[in-house]
Assembly symmetry: C2
Homo-oligomer: 250 residues x 2
DNA sequence: CCAACTGGTCCGGTTATTAGACCACTAGAC
DNA sequence: GTCTAGTGGTCTAATAACCGGACCAGTTGG
């Protein structure tokens, strides 16, 4: 891939890094506890020293987070007295991150099962909601895949674009992002598996079946097609892992 | 809740804050691109100045991230020449965060739909895999909920424990964490909705139905019970949001 | 050979975070 | 009312991370 493709254009992989300070993250933790009712109005917080020890940050950082909250009228901080919750209106503060586990924190089987479930749902919605422009885009991506028969890397680029385009057409951002994340999990192993003889051809064939079902608006066929495809990917991923484990154990 | 419960014990809400630097995050971004095949061995990266501009960080930060990668033998950095990928073995580097969107980034309808889907799957697995100890724990939590009839906060604490205990019993960490995250999304609104007359009683009744289905190992009844419960929550959450919007628009 | 572009180094600055010490206030026990 | 333990408040010194910019030295392609 030319380096310009990394920097700009549709689905450019490199984006701005948005970074939150530790203080901000601690403030959000408190806000989440208040929003969820774990802490409520009138409750006293543990002392700053205890919070610092428990959360593994400095007392200064805790104080900074509490300053954020007291500025918004959520907690009351008084010298000598315990800090207290005085309002449960945490509006304006982001709640804690949605789901911040690392991809590698989960077992392959769990991810596989999750992906099957999400993709089936995505498939059914996409079959109902896909438009002609998306169908056309997917056709072009199949052509790109065919052109990349002998080039696993270029194939995977088109593969990813193919899958994420379908995910996005389901019309539900939560499901689309979930599906994309679960898809991405297997990319590392996938790249090694795709080198096997006939693997690319098989994937392209699967993709043709998927696209045909989408064009027909056939939700059952689409869900089945994606399911078969995903199981094949799962099997080849396991084979790669098994080979790596055998090598690692020698 | 006593503040000691925040600090220690089972399911203690306050945990250590693990914070990654911007440099670490950038290094992981590169590692993910390499693992996924977007970048492969032999590819030259964009220049440090271009990367800095695109990712919105300083050139120094980019250089630090590349130092991490060159130390691991993943990229080759040579004065005057373009930085190149020399290995795709990114083992040891965490891939980018699983799914780092904020809860509040998604439409309520999307989250609701996602939660319905995940909980149905979780329900079916839990019905098969739940053990006697978990059933006993859930019974105790129903008792706690009943005891909290006039206390919305205490009720929500037991409510949360009830749901997350079911999620954990499904045996799939991905699905369990997803379900927990989607559940948490509505907590802020839920707390306001739970104050409505009869809301707690209705929830407890729903929970009894859910527990009965779980005890019977009846996956269909469990999925249906959770679905009905979740739709009721969705409706009450929307009512709260609608009221808030009306107030905000005055 | 040369110019343009690259990485390498350095500087001055800001911000964030840390650990610790000490001061002043609060609240509960007596 | 007094006293003490525990609380928050302030300050210091230090380190780390990050930033923006300038300038030097090496590479590469024309």
């Amino acid at each position: 891939m030319g380096e310009n493709a990394l920097l700009a254009g549709q689905n450019a992989p490199l984006e701005k890094v948005t970074h939150r300070s530790v203080k901000d993250e601690v403030a959000e933790r408190f806000a989440t506890l208040i929003a969820s009712g774990v802490l409520n109005v009138g409750d006293a917080l543990p002392s700053e020293r205890e919070l610092a020890a428990t959360m593994g940050v400095s007392r200064e950082t805790i104080r900074g987070a509490l300053l954020i909250l007291s500025t918004k009228g959520i907690v009351s901080v008084v010298q000598g007295a315990r800090t207290k919750v005085v309002s449960d209106d945490v509006g304006g503060l982001g709640l804690s991150a949605f789901f911040s586990g690392r991809v590698t924190d989960y077992a392959l089987e769990d991810v596989h099962e999750g992906r099957l479930m999400v993709e089936e749902r995505v498939a059914r919605l996409a079959a109902q909601r896909v438009d002609a422009a998306t169908i056309s885009e997917l056709e072009k991506l199949i052509d790109k895949q065919t052109a990349a028969m002998g080039d696993p890397v270029r194939f995977l680029i088109a593969d990813r674009a193919f899958h994420t385009t379908i995910y996005q057409s389901c019309g539900n951002a939560v499901l689309s992002d979930l599906a994309t994340t679960l898809y991405s999990y297997q990319l590392d192993h996938r790249r090694r598996a795709i080198g096997a003889t006939g693997a690319i051809a098989q994937s392209i064939e699967d993709h043709r079946v998927i696209l045909a079902a989408l064009k027909a608006g056939d939700a059952d066929a689409l869900a089945e097609g994606l399911g078969i495809h995903e199981r094949r990917i799962y099997d080849s991923t396991r084979a790669v892992l098994s080979t790596s484990e055998q090598k690692a154990s020698k």
